[in-house]
Amino acid sequence: MPRRNDIASILIIGSGPIVIGQAAEFDYSGTQACRALREEGYRVVLVNSNPATIMTDPEVADATYVEPLTVETLTEILRREHPDAILPTLGGQTALNLAVELHDAGILDEMDIELLGASIDSIRKAEDRHLFREAMDRIGLRVPESRIIHNISEVWQVTEQLGFPLIVRPSFTLGGKGGAVVQDPSQFQRAVSDGLDASPVKSVLVERSVAGWKEFELEVMRDLADNVVIVCSIENVDPMGVHTGDSITVAPAQTLSDRQYQTLRSASLRIIREIGVQTGGSNIQFAVDPESDDFYVIEMNPRVSRSSALASKATGFPIAKIAAKLAVGYALDEIPNDITRATPASFEPALDYVVTKIPRFTFEKFPGTPARLTTTMHSVGEVMAIGRTFTESLLKAMASLEVDPQDIVPSLEEPSPYRIFAVFDALRDGMDIPEIYDRTRIDPFFIASVAKIVAAEGALSGALDAEALREAKKLGLSDETLAVAAGTSTKVVRGVREALGVVPTYKSVDTCAGEFPARTPYYYSTYEVEDEVERGDGPSVVVLGSGPNRIGQGVEFDYACVHASYALKESGYDAVMVNSNPETVSTDYDTSTRLYFEPLSAEHVLEVIRREKPEGVILQFGGQSPLKLARELEAAGATILGTSPDAIDLAEDRARFGRLLTELEIPHPRFGTASTPEEAREVAQELGYPAVVRPSYVLGGRRMEIVYSDDDLNLYLSSSADASPDHPTLIDEFMEDYVEVDVDAVSDGEDVYIGGIMEHVEEAGVHSGDSSCVTPPITLHRALLERIEGYTRRLALAVGVIGLMNVQYVVRGDSVMVIECNPRASRTVPFISKATGVPLAKVATRVLVGEKLRDMDLESSVSGHFSVKAPVFPFDRFAEADPLLGPEMRSTGEAMGIDRTFGGAFAKALTAAGQTLPISGRVYISVANRDKRAVVLIARAFADLGFEVAASEGTAEVLKNNGLPVTVVPKIGERSEDVLTLIEGGGVDLIVNTPWGRGARTDGYLIRRKALTHGVPCITTLAGAAAAIQGIESKIRGGMQRVNPLQSLHATKA
């Protein structure tokens, strides 16, 4: 079946902001899809509200709409673009759900737009747990016994019928949201009501638990000719009960015999046919009894998924790209396998290596939520590693994680991010494999492999001969482990290895286990005989990626790295990417000239450098991870392009940086450092309260707090890991009620290009990553902006920045102060690039390879529109967390809104971030005393916009005194009818609540949680409220209806 010629243009729906369960992998798949379809000559229209993506680069699609992913906006876009079809299977659950909504709203029929990939019916069959059950019955496959609940009252009889433990799984949700394993009626009650809240269709599936069974996933592909192939099998190391997204997983399956594997394979073929996914990739999950051949079907995702991304990276089979081509009519055998070029895509990849994925978590940022792994996904990112053996890939994956588990004592029984370390410890303590199996239900094969590692560690004697050294490296032991065992340094170990010629070889990922020559430069290190790298003799530059996504270091950095690769290739270099994150575009095998899928550890990076002999290494795009390696790489003789390690240190070491600012006469908040609690108190006394306290060298404001009194400070100190001379505590004067400003700039050592100035909506004290911001600034006087630009230039030159840098300022009245300078790409680089049309990361890269800014004509097009960035938070997955903004970053991603007015852009950004502002109804206001004065104007504005104003007693009184009509809402618990019940009853459309009082479970806390679970937008700062008012105004005036593709926004560039 050839390419379809009856369609000319296709709309692709992206997945929106990064959230837990739906992350960078959809940038990877969406980008592939856009490229594939354009290759085929279709006009591609893309909608995605997430600026931090490659897919939203203007070059990737013909028309790129950075607009909210809602039925309204999509309809607007459809009316404007009139595409012939929509491809909804590459934008995760978001795109799939939107497709269904568009259909239900009758728009697809009305405009006669076809759905490619999956039909509405097949989407329903797969996503609706009940229909799925029925489908499985029809083809004689078993699913765990279950009941559908639409109403909390049905709970009891279900308990009767199924007994405990039970699994609660909402329909149509993502990443197991709202799901839980429940042991008793009370847990059951809560889980069901949460589940009903979480499910867009208000139904949950209650299922008999098979926790402890083995969990497998198969990635399936089907074409219109009904050819079906399995791209990859994935085995979960953590058994059923831990969400696949949170499990350590291994590809291919390790503990199934051929007979057992083929049974699952055949079942998968029947499932995809029965569900009727016409073309593309699907993901099917199975639970397999460890004691028999029994198995259950758990679910099917009729779309490209997180696991598809993993499978693509694990096999070299580009699922998203192929899915896109299948969607427009090609059959699998009509599409060539990129890697062999000689063979078609209608085959099943054969691996000759083992792949391990380990998720990355951030529980520490959400105190109150235990770090326990359940059926609800909590991980924010993942690492993947490739090795010739499971032990090697496991150890490489652990080396990629960048966490040190030292200070936790994990349990074996309870699944947690650290359980794998507990398995290591148990074996070290001599516990035997069967006992560990009984406690963890982790398949003994995996435990035995860890035992092999532990035994090897034990066998390491002081001096290692080449033989033993090679064996140790083959097993995957790091230089660090060897150094510790030998009581020496990694430097020495590395030296010895080189001397003895024990260095890694690089093998390629080729989809065919060597049966055919590979044309793709996708490599991993292992200790073997033959090396396959085809280096050529062109000059190369190594770009270090950013490793696993985590809060504070997300896809924004991958975006910058990808641009670095593009720019390097354009400038005639071989771009060499090193990264360990399977969810990204940077680890796509055709992004760079050569891809090394390796941990971002000094050892692995240095080996790549040895192999590549590059002109230099670029550290400044990958966030803090590569930056951490600067000194060690330099010491080992690597050439670092751009800002020197010493300059980096100058900017990051508070004392040195402080002195520099004083020299430059650039104002900054007074600060001090303390190595002991006593010192801390003295410093604070001297600076005065409030003050900002934090450990030195942190990213994303980790453990950063604002303290208002000695008590606060003592509380902080007692709760924080003891400050010590090498880990001092930093204390800054807190600049209260200051506006925060972010600047991204590029310097070549002579000139400095100001990429953009962003004015934060929330005042300083809210982490820059968590506050909304607008560019160009809206309330800063030109003179101030010029001063900010001037400071930025002086800083760049004085620090010695070559390449990108980000400076954060606080501003009030006429005073401008610097709070920090990051000599690297920042989170806002993609946002600014999209807002101005100037690709900052590319510009910086060209500077790094010697070009001068003055030789590039860089003019940004900011006139005529405002761009707003709004963050999204994972609070809904962290049961106890207080959804408040503070100096510690907790957002997982961001959305962008663009419009002619600030209000319109802000409204769009909030809508895109899932905080849709109402245009009428009731606003509930309850603010801290310090805000009571300022809140009056805000309340009046709401009233003028036609809102009914309701307030808590204190706030209401103030409003009344100012002549505002206001309904008083009783305090919590005071009467049966309190604010909580009001929210539950849908009686509140918007909440303005600024926090007061410390400690858990204050009324404010309860209100904010309620708002969260019931999806009522809740604004926690007055600045935010003021902006919201502008947003609402512009919505009323129709601001949301204006949709505009980037291409026309920056027409000057195009």
């Binding site: 000719a225 009904d226 050819n227 192939v229 399995i230 291919p252 399956a253 390790q254 503990t255 199934l256 015999s257 051929d258 007979r259 057992q260 594997y261 083929q262 055949s266 073929l269 460890p290 004691e291 028999s292 051949d293 055998d333 000689a342 063979t343 078609p344 209608s346 085959f347 099943e348 990849p349 054969a350 691996l351 000759d352 290596y353 083992v354 010739r388 053996t389 499971f390 398949d443 003994p444 094969f445 035995a448 492999s449 035992a451 092999k452 035994a455 090897a456 033989e467 033993a468 064996e471 097993l475 093998k507 286990a513 060597g514 049966e515 055919f516 073997e528 005989v529 033959e530 396959e532």
Partner: protein, 373 residues
């Protein structure tokens, strides 16, 4: 848990062109030395089925998947009574196996038949070498580590071309009746050149009673049994060396429906007047796409052959029914007039995907006197 070089003896692998690899023996140690044609299989699972597949007789088997032993040895998953390959080369062997159904380790199985198992070598490098240079003879030794002497031994070993391994392929001395599972719908005479057990399971599972006879059995003997159909099994070696088997087959054509698999397919081809030839490194794996022209569907197939029927030599009356989408080689033929069909690949899979069971259905239906209950 054994680790590193502990308790293993060093093994040296030398190919006829002198290429050398070093590894460690993990089984069959006392065998000391083994020679044979070195071939690689890309199946990621199914080492037990593969090693016991008689078609591998006389060959040194390289697993491109780096790990074997992980799920042990499972009763019922063997394709014949013993390990058939001459030796096994793998990147890593794990003595610790985990699978509820398995009862012993792979090393025990290898030791039982004294087949050398070697681990720790760069099997990917070896595979790429064979891919580029073609399958070649090799010698493995745990006693002799001298490269030149081993190379000489490799070259002294008989070439696969012209080698008849099939005549002696069967463990049978006289015919043996294997009754259908359930109600019998037909009887076939099966010529055993080194058959894989699961082929008979597939037939019997479809109500076929299988009278299995040594591959050398003559036409008249077969016709005496007046079977509903004749089945030609898979087996090792060069089909071109099997003149006798081919002669035996000719008189049957037209007399009785014939279905062949793998070597059986090549023998049928020869009997129909086609030529066969040796492939560079053959097809060994479980992921090859094959197009079935009847349905135009693509099947993912289980493959194990080093020889093939030459496309250009198909005479009139013989049609190409299946083609390999990797290299275009012949995967299936049909002489409809004569009611004779065959496929080069393995519809019984074991190991491999089960996309091709319809071939057994088709054969059985076309010869059965009752439709299966």
């Amino acid at each position: 848990m054994e680790y590193g070089s502990a308790g293993r003896s060093r093994a040296t692998v030398v190919l006829e062109d002198g290429t050398t690899f070093e590894g460690w023996s993990f089984a069959g140690g006392e065998a000391g030395e083994a020679a044979g044609e070195v071939v690689f299989t890309t199946s990621m699972v199914g080492y037990q089925e593969t090693l016991t597949d008689p078609s591998y007789r006389g060959q040194i088997l390289v697993f491109t998947y780096p790990l074997i032993g992980n799920y042990g040895v499972i009763p019922g998953d063997e394709e014949s009574r013993k390990v058939q390959a001459a030796a096994v080369l793998v990147r890593e062997y794990t003595p610790y196996y985990s699978n509820w159904a398995s009862q012993r380790s792979l090393a025990e199985l290898l030791d039982e038949t004294g087949v050398l198992g070697i681990e720790g070598l760069d099997t990917r490098a070896l595979t790429r070498h064979l891919r580029d240079k073609g399958a070649m003879r090799g010698v493995i030794s745990t006693v002799d580590h001298d490269a030149t002497s081993l190379r000489d031994k490799a070259n002294a070993h008989p070439e696969m071309i012209g080698l008849d391994l099939a005549s002696a392929g069967s463990e049978l001395t006289e015919p043996l009746l294997l009754p259908a599972f359930g109600e019998e719908v037909c009887r076939v005479a099966a010529l055993d050149y080194g058959v894989k057990g699961s082929i008979y399971k597939e037939l019997r599972g479809r109500g076929t009673s299988v009278l299995t006879m040594p591959g050398s059995t003559g036409a008249s003997e077969i016709l005496e049994e007046n079977p509903d159909g004749v089945f030609l099994s898979n087996g090792p070696g060069d089909p071109a060396a099997l003149d006798k088997a081919v002669d035996n087959l000719r008189p049957l054509l037209g007399e009785v429906p014939v279905f062949g698999i793998c070597l059986g397919h090549q023998i049928l081809g020869l009997a129909l007047g086609c030529e066969t030839y040796k492939m560079p490194f053959g097809h060994h794996g479980a992921n090859h796409p094959v197009r079935n022209f009847a349905t135009n569907r693509i099947e993912i197939t289980s493959q194990n052959h080093g020889f093939a029927v030459r496309d250009e030599t198909l005479p009139d009356g013989v049609e190409l029914t299946h083609r390999n989408l990797y290299d275009g080689t012949v995967e299936g033929i049909s002489a409809t007039e004569l009611r004779a069909w065959s496929v080069q690949y393995h519809p019984e899979s074991s190991p491999g995907p089960r996309d091709s069971g319809y071939l057994f259905d088709g054969f059985v239906q076309s010869i059965s006197h009752k439709t299966p209950a």
